[in-house]
Structures are given as C-alpha cells and as structure tokens.
Symmetry: C2
C-alpha cells in the first residue's frame, strides 16, 4: 500500500528557498580583519546565489560537474555551497591545508571543472594549478592580485566580474534527492584521500538532525559561528543547518587566531560555535591571560574532531558559563553521528563523565562495536572494539569504489576503537591505527592524553606507541609545557598514578615546543612515530 | 552522479529501535483516574510492541492490512502506533467521536481487519460492530466486560491474553519508506470523511521536524503530554516525536476534564503539552477558580485545531509563566505545517501579533495563497486567498482518489482562507465555507470571535454567516457568557468598535448555554447555521 503523501524531494534547493522566502532578513556576517566586517541578508545571499549559478553556467558548468572551492569561511563560500547543488552541479570543497600534490590528486580524481578561490589563498593555490588536468576556470574572490594564478593556462575571472549583470533569480531545477550535492575528501592520514559524495537527501536530513534539540537545537533565535573550516566536512553541516533554521551566520574568514575570534564573539555575539579542541584551547589560554573578553553570548559550543578534554570543558563551564558539547563524526558521516549530552536525572559527576564521552547516536544513526572478525560486541561499557555506523547520512562507499573493505558489512568501519555503555554512550579509546599494543593488551593513547592535559604545567600532550623489545609496544608521551612551567617525567607519572592502571604509565617522555598536526589540526601521530624512529626526539626514560 | 550515501529508509521501525536501544529507561505514564497511574519504560514498551506484532500475526494480519484502533491516549494505543507500522501493516486510528454510521463507513472503506479497542469505549463501539464488513477480530484492552462486543460475530480477545506468552522480540522487516505506515480520516465536516495515508517517510520527517527548535524542540529532557487525542491526526505527531527524542510521555487516557488534567500536570510535571484551545480555556477557567494548581513545569503548550485567542495566551503567559504556541495544520498535513513563534528582535507588541497568527511554515513545508482561479497572490499581509500547502508530509491525494479537485495544482487546497505577510506569517481569517460574504466583501468570522472572547463576560463566541435580504449574508454572533455575567449586544458592539471596521459589526446576537461542537471540538458552524435556519435560536437584533 503506497501512501498518499506528496513526492517532495529533500534538497539543498528547498533549504535555500526556505531561507530566502521565510527568513530573508537574517544575516551572514563575514570578518574582514582589524575588527571590520560585512553583512549580507539572506535575501541578498539568495540573489548572489542566483547570479553565481548563472555565472557558473556561463563558464560552462553543465549537468553534475564538480565546482571546487579553495576558500575560507565567508559569504562567497556559502554562495557556492548553495549555487552548485541547487543548479544540479556538485560542490567540491578542497582542503587548503593539504600538500599541493594531494590537492591536485583530489581535484583531478573528482574532475573539478571550476575552482572558486579566495585571492588571499593565491600563494597556496598557485603551485597546485600546473598539476590540474580538468579545471578550466578559476573564479577569484576578493580584490587581491590575480597574477599568481595567471600562468597555468586557465581562465581566471574575478568573482564579482563573473556575477556582474547576471539576473538575481534562477529557475532552479527539480532534483532527485539521491543525486550528488557535494563532495569532500577524507584528510588522508592513511593512504590517499578518498572521496565522499553527499546527496541532497543526506545533507537535508543531517541539517534537520542538527536543528533538533538533542543535537545542537539550532533555531531562528541563534547566531552560528562555524570556526571549523567550510572545506572540512561541510563545517560540520553548520552552514546548512543555520540556513534551514533561519539563524544568523558569523563567518571568521581567515582570522582564526584566538584574539580575532574573541573580538568576533564579543562584537557579533554568536550563540552557537563549532571548532576543534585545539582552537578552544587557544581561546581559553588567551582568555585567561587577557581577561575582559565577553563570550557570554555562547549558549553552546560544539567541539569534536578529536577527544575534548574534560578539564577544558570544566573551565569553560565553571569560569565562563559556556557549555562545550562534544560531538563525534567524520567526513564519512556528514559528519555528526553522536552527541555527548547527558541523560536527565543523573548526578553532576555522572553528567560530566557522559559529557566527556563521544556521546550517543543522533536519531537516524546506529552505532555498534565489532571484534576483529566483525562480530558485534555487547554494549556493556566494557567490551572494546572497532566502531561501525549506519544511517541515512553515512557513506556506503567511497567515490570510485576505493577501499571497499571498509563497507563489507553494510556498515561503515570507522577506524575508531572504543566501547559503548548500556545507555548508548560511545567512548573512543583510540584510532585503530593509534592503539598501543603492549604485551598483548591495548593501552588507550587518548585516555593518557586526556589525563596529561589536565596537569597545570601541560599545554599539549600526544601519546603514541613505539617499539619495545620486551612488550612489543610501549607509550611515548610527547609533551608541550606552558611557558615558564617545569615538570619532570617522575612528577607526571605520579600525577597519572591514580588515574590509569600502573602498566599504562609511559616510561618514555619527550618535551617539545609543539606537537605536529595534520591538515585538520589533529595530532599527527604518523609523523610523531616517524620522528621518533628517526631519532629526532630527545627521549627521557624513567621507571620507578 | 549518484551520491555514495547509504540507502537507509526513514521508518517508524527506526524510531522504535532508537527509542528502545538508546532511551530504554525513559517512561510512558498512563493515567488510571483518581490520581492513579501506571508507568512503562521504553524498554518494556519495546517488548510489548514485539508481543503485539506477534499477536496481530497470530490473528491473521498479513502484508499491509489495516489495524484499527478505537482508543484513548494510553500506552496500549502507543504500542499499536509502533507495532502495526513496524510489522509492515497499517495503523488506522478511528475517531471515537464520530457517529456509528461514520465510523463504520471509515472502517469499511479502509478494510480494517482488526480493531484494538478500549473496553471503556465498549458502549460507543458496540453499535458500530454490526455494520462492519471486514473486521474479524477485536482486541479488547482493559479488564471491563466483554459482553457488549460479543454479539456481532467477531472474535473478541482480551489484549493481555492475545499478547500472553508471545516473544518479547520481533524480527522487524526492512520496509520501503514510501509504503503506508498509518491512516487517518478527516473529520468530515463537509461530505463523507476522506482517508489520508501517511508513509513511514512522512511520519519520520514530521517527527524530526517536531523535534527541531523552530517547531516544538522536543528533546530528551522533555516530558510530553498529548491531550489532543491519538485518534486525531496522530495526536499532532507528539507520540512519535517524543519517542524519537527519548522524551517521557504522559498519557491522560479518558481523564481529560480540567481537574484531572491539572492533577496530572501537577504530579507528573510535563514540560510540553498539546491540546485544542477549548481544552486550555477549560483548564484556565478551572485554574482561576481553584488556585493552588502547579503548572510551572510546562515550558511550551502547543495549541491548534482552531484559532487561539490572544487573550488566553496572554493570561497563561503573564499569570502562569506558560508559553502557549499556536500551530496550524490538518489531518492532511501530518499535521504540523506552520508554527507561530515570533522572529527575534521585534517589539513585545509585534511578537504578540505574530504569536496570534497561525505562524510560519516549518522548513520543508511551503505555503501560499491563491485566488478563485488558483493564481498565487502576493505575500504582502493584505491579499486574502485560499491557503495551499506542499511538502514531504503533506498529502497529495485522498485514499481511493476521493475529492481530486483539491489536488489539481499539485498543492493541497486546504479550504482555509487567509493572508501571508512578508515574513511568511499566515493569518487565517476563515474556513472557505465559513467566510461571511456581505455585500460582495468578506467578513472574517474568526477575527470577530477572537475579539469577542477577549470581553470579560464572554466565555465562548462563534460567528456564522446567515442570509440577509439586503447584504446577501450578515454575521450572527452566538455567545456563551461566564456564569453570573450579563452583557448586552449594544455593549458588545461598543467593545468591538475600535477593533474591526464598522460594517463588520454583527446586528444579530443570540445568547446560549453552549456552542455546538464537532467531533474534534471545533465550533460546528454547519449545525449553528442549521439551528438558526430552523428558528431554534432566540435572536436579538440590534443596530445603532
């Protein structure tokens, strides 16, 4: 029996239409540096989106061709987020922090035809251009110098010139909700980057999920500050969710240092913000040294990408009244899969424990853990296995069928290892490849890091497994201290003693100025292990 | 270009699975009268649902056969809400307030096979049974007497007996999201009732929409009290939304008088409740006469079904701190289509004006007004036309293709007349059939009613058009006064003078003990007009 319901597809076009017709007065604010900014209403954004779609057609975009972006978080990037999918083409956000070779590999594999690029990124983009095989046109945003982009044989047009004189309305096509809306590549810390192709449907459902109270509850009274880059997992879907909700958007462009962000927050008073823990750590350190900044507008700060230290959440909550909410996901999951909000009716201490986990599945997403044979393990808070996920905004394959083994069970193997408690809270203990196997047992590098970061002298800490003759692997702690602080391995071991089992305590310690990071700001453990193998670290060994 | 996203259907089954696995500890409380109640955890509910599905299979339900319900709001009704759709059958909620002939017509047209019925409703159901042509089994809920149901040749089994010994787990089938999940008939104030068939997809999306902040924002910290009957437009989708969110549910069963509701609210402290305005009016009147009830747990009271008087919203807000939020929709729209939350940044007075409208479209729903030729009218707050809606949870036809003319444009013609302002707020001025056409111009009966109800002596007021020799039609005001109050037509006309244009003022007045209502509690204007035509009202004529 078929239902009698209308067959109305879930599309980015309908998010755009709703935003423009029902919330035309809401605004998108883009930072310009030095405290300056520009503001665009949703209505004006809708006109810009229509003009951009005409301009893209004008430079030859047809069918489902890919439109790349090489941009910071700004209103022009938002216009491509809408124009490309709504016209039936595919948005392809390029990660500006990858190497030129990786960027070219990604753009070529996706067969990008056009790249919309910020001229403030011309120096990073220029070395990529000679390697591109399918891109024929660059739309250059901003009033910088075009010269660095002009020697690779492509057409280079200023964004404003391309849009000038185009009609402010566009007859958007009716689209099948299962067609591609956007592409994003994984950051490729293992092997080549792999493409994920989001559908209109998955983008729509993920946005709706983000607007539900149990996820971020974004609504028309919110003002949303996505600090997480729009070239990384759609800025966690915050731009689309804000448009769906009619929330204001505040976009930091390239001004993502702590003082700029704090000024932006103080001036534009966002209620919701999203960024990785290292950004909030920077913000917190700046706040502590420069009191007087006002972050009280923030009702909710979404945080993910790597584990969020409870100590940092506590300081934000207790000293500034700002709730940091951890969420977990990946490029492959659109990205929000789980959210660490506590269940009601628990003690403060339990609530903090739940908030320090990676959280529970958003309705729509299913999460389980499996053993090495792929068999499901109990959700008893004890069994540890690889996390698998399933749901309407989870990818079922990579573009061109890469890395098929990850999808063999019909679920996505996430490469994350952890446990799930009876209430459904997921606690990740490691990336599968970062697990430390010591004497046949697993040590969680993430738990050691979370405890170390809580020590007052420690600014950052990363723990990796390194070869050990007796135990196969043992942990190496790579520690960055706060300016002017001193602490010994012995003292740090003592600090850890009542927090983890004794055989987890690292014997190997190295103190460095900074921990290497990946293109998306995570600890780059592959590089750490390589540097250790090459003897680049001064390692202090300590046993007691 | 197809996306790489997983093909995971949106189904009632996944709402059920999420509720049971992630929120198993949440509870459903059903009132038993006299302050008693029983409580069921989501986990226990999941077991009951599995047992019920086995029982329904056991009595012969196969494929997409219809399972009727004839029930109040209670946990057994909720179990049918889940079991029938999840097993691939179709839930069909029968409106207990219709005439036996109408109920039989509906059950026969839908070919219901089984009816799950509350024994407390046996007297209402018994006269229906001899007219039923397809029902072969009654599952009788409660411990009342079976005798009244036993003389119609059907199998009558107690619900508990049917479920006894059945397994607490069920291997739910994978369903196409576009298949039927549930049916509901319109209340049939014009012509025969017509069937709407909801899909799994539409139910899922409507639930998700209800959980977004801009609609009701139902989350895991909520406790939801659906007073609106579960046999009427799925109780506005509140049960499914609560299950999706992991919110507690509080169900009043048949105890819906104001004192019982106030006791239920005081004891179980729901945060969200939904009912038609007349119920809240009763609650308010009881509260005013019996101070000491505590309704402070309510953060949000959803109200719809007919226009919500601003005066009532103001008293709830200012005297009790309870926010009443008007929403608009119909059986055909699942039902929530628009929600009257004010945009941020407006004055208090503007916010109240917006709250007194029917609100703005939930994202996903499109609303427009059209003239008599079906041409769209501007959203300028002035043009008045028939409201049309479109969206993934709006019906595109009636069951068996009834009343096709309503869908000719690809939108649903709602039969409601109103205007839309530039911010998208819809203000209904009438049902198309209740518009008063006076001298070629329209008078809004609803606006007159809303102003009249604000008079301190007036308890209820309904205005209908009656024949007039000179003007074709003129308004007749049918007024119920508060006990012990007196007011003259002259005084009420004076009260209206600065609120509506002069030629709207009714000359005809009648004072009655109660206004006739339809099966779902709306003013029954067809009956009012008929009674007036039959000379049953003492009409006072007054002109000045």
């Amino acid at each position: 029996m078929r239902s009698t319901m209308q067959d109305v597809p879930l599309t980015v076009t309908s998010i755009l239409r709703h935003a423009v017709t029902v919330n035309g007065d809401r605004t998108v604010t883009t930072a310009l540096g030095d405290g300056r900014y520009r503001s665009t209403s949703y209505r004006e954004l809708g006109e810009q989106v229509a003009r951009l779609a005409h301009a893209l057609r004008g430079v030859g975009i047809t069918g489902d061709q890919r439109v790349g972006t090489f941009m910071w978080n700004n209103v022009e990037h938002l216009a491509v987020y809408l124009a490309a999918p709504a016209m039936g083409a595919v948005l392809h956000t390029l990660n500006i922090r990858l190497s030129p070779e990786q960027i070219a590999y990604i753009a070529n594999e996706a067969e990008d035809q056009v790249i919309v690029a910020d001229l403030s990124l011309a120096a990073q983009l220029a070395p990529v251009l000679p390697m591109l095989t399918t891109v024929h046109t660059i739309l250059a945003v901003g009033d910088g110098d075009l010269t660095p982009l002009q020697n690779a044989g492509m057409m280079v047009i200023r964004y404003d010139d391309a849009l000038g004189g185009r009609p402010p309305e566009y007859d958007w096509p009716v689209l099948d909700e299962n067609t591609a809306a956007a592409m994003c590549y994984t950051s490729g810390t293992t092997g080549n980057p792999k493409g994920v192709v989001y559908s209109h449907r998955s983008t729509y459902l993920h946005s709706m999920s983000t607007c539900t109270t149990n996820v971020l509850g974004i609504g028309v009274e919110d003002s949303v500050l996505p600090i997480v880059p729009m070239f990384h997992a759609n800025a966690w879907g915050l731009p689309y969710a804000a448009l769906m909700a009619g929330a204001d958007l505040v976009l930091p462009d390239r001004f993502m240092d702590a003082p700029s962000l704090l000024n932006l927050i103080g001036t534009h008073r966002p209620t919701v913000a999203g960024a990785v823990p290292t950004i909030w750590n920077d913000v917190l350190n700046h706040l502590e040294r420069h009191p007087g900044h006002d972050i009280s507008s923030l009702r909710l700060v979404a945080c993910g990408g790597s584990a969020v230290p409870r100590s940092m959440m506590e300081v934000f909550q207790n000293r500034y009244g700002v709730r940091i909410q951890q969420a977990w996901g990946m490029t492959e999951t659109s990205p929000v899969a789980t959210v660490a909000a506590p269940v009601p009716g628990v003690s403060d201490e339990t609530a903090w424990t739940l908030r320090a986990s990676q959280g529970r599945a958003a309705c729509g997403v299913e999460v389980r853990i499996v053993d090495d044979e792929g068999l499901p393990l109990p959700h008893d808070g004890k069994a540890v296995g690889e996390v698998e996920v399933r749901g309407p905004w989870v990818t079922g394959s990579y573009y061109l069928g890469r890395d098929e083994a990850k999808f063999a069970s019909g679920w996505l193997r996430t490469g994350d290892v952890g446990r799930i408690d009876p209430l459904g809270y997921v606690t990740l203990t490691d990336r599968a490849k970062d697990v430390i196997k010591s004497g046949g047992e697993w040590i969680s590098s993430v738990e050691l890091e979370n405890h170390l970061i809580a020590h007052p002298a420690v600014l950052e800490a990363s723990v990796v497994g390194v070869p050990d003759d007796r135990w196969q692997e043992r942990p190496l702690a790579v520690v960055v201290l706060h300016d002017g602080h001193q602490v010994s391995p012995q003292q740090l071991r003592e600090f850890l003693t009542d927090k983890v089992v004794r055989w987890w305590l690292p014997e190997r310690w190295t103190f460095v100025d900074q921990v290497p990071r990946t293109s998306v700001g995570k600890y780059d453990k592959k590089t750490i292990r390589a540097r250790h193998a090459d003897g680049e670290y001064d390692v202090v060994e300590y046993r007691d």
